[in-house]
């Protein structure tokens, strides 16, 4: 399961102690469109199916200031044209029953898209936890290995000390302690 580490794969970007530079931020933005570094993002975004991509686009589109702004403008125009005397062609008089239908249609589609986006997010959460489980298993093994290695080191050091004491005792037959 665990192969020898490949040193060349370790990126140098994350090593720098300071915050991300402008160049790194640009790279991060480009990655959103291209290839992600984290396996969860790779599987979730780069390998998304057509339906998943469209779902992401749809929720990004409806949940944007552009959508809100354009919708508000359309409502204002609709109400304005259908109330003000100046306009002769009116298609939906007070109390705007057709506009009400339009709102219902919008809500009828927003609900499912909201759930679609929520499901996507839940899917990602699930994937992320699975990734965490995989990684933390490896990390725990590594920590225990470190501990074991230090314990071995302590044993070796202890042996060196004993050896030194023995040598000193043999040199001075009086056997004085420290």
């Amino acid at each position: 399961m665990i192969s020898a580490p490949k040193e060349g794969q370790v990126s140098h970007e994350s090593v720098s102690g300071e915050g991300p530079t402008d160049a790194e931020i640009t790279t991060a933005r480009a990655r959103v469109a291209a290839k992600h570094k984290h396996p969860v993002n790779q599987l979730f975004h780069d390998e998304a199916t057509l339906g998943e991509r469209v779902a992401d686009k749809a929720s990004a589109g409806i949940g944007s200031w552009w959508f809100l702004g354009i919708q508000s403008a359309l409502i204002v125009v609709w109400v304005f044209v259908n109330t003000v005397e100046f306009f002769t062609h009116k298609w939906d008089l007070y109390p705007f029953i057709l506009l009400n239908l339009m709102f219902s249609i919008q809500a009828a589609f927003t609900g499912p898209v909201l759930l679609l986006s929520g499901n996507r997010q839940a899917q990602k959460d699930r994937l992320r936890l699975e990734h965490t489980a995989e990684v933390s298993e490896t990390a725990e093994k590594a920590t225990l290995q470190i501990l074991e290695e230090i314990e071995r080191n302590t044993e070796a050091t202890l042996k060196v000390l004993e050896h030194l004491k023995k040598r000193r005792d043999s040199k001075s037959p009086t056997g004085a302690s420290t």
Binding site: L115, L127, Q145
Partner: protein, 157 residues
């Protein structure tokens, strides 16, 4: 130091990502999906059903058919002529149920978030215990090394 074999890891993750019935490795996923009670399972199914492309496409189709028949009077007698007040009622009914279902799904998710944090706290405790053990061991080692140094210094040159 041992690092996860990247391609194998990604492969395993992909298997579980694409198979919703796969066994989960993370304890939180196990508790949340594999051990979910009936109500939670139904909530998940509802959210998955309503938040899917088939639902949206079928709803669009029905809407178009309804409007086409009642606008142009195709095939049968119009039962809901312009401005489609009955259609409006049905769409409002749909929205009335969509809202609670969205909240149901959101509550499931926030419940999961809660367990995730509790689990993270447990893991952090475990990690701290490991680090403390390592630290104690290194201190022991340093003490021994210092003793060796003193021995060497006391040795007659």
């Amino acid at each position: 130091m041992a690092q996860p074999d990247a391609p194998a890891l990604v492969h395993r993750l992909r298997q579980r990502h694409r198979n919703p019935n796969a066994d989960h490795k993370h304890p939180v996923n196990k508790a949340h999906y594999d051990d979910a009670p009936l109500g939670a399972r139904i909530a998940d199914k509802l959210a998955a059903g309503m938040g899917s492309w088939p639902f949206i496409i079928i709803q669009s189709g029905l809407l178009l058919i309804w409007v086409a028949i009642n606008f142009y009077g195709l095939f049968i007698k119009r039962w809901d002529p312009y401005p489609f007040i009955l259609l409006n009622l049905l769409l409002s009914l749909q929205a009335t149920y969509a809202g609670p279902i969205v909240l149901l799904a959101g509550n499931r998710q926030s419940q999961k978030d809660r367990i995730t944090l509790e689990h993270a706290a447990d893991e952090a405790d475990k990690g701290e215990e490991h680090i403390t053990r390592i630290l104690i061991e290194i201190k022991k080692n340093t003490d021994l090394t210092l003793q060796i140094l003193r021995e060497l210094e006391a040795e007659p040159a």
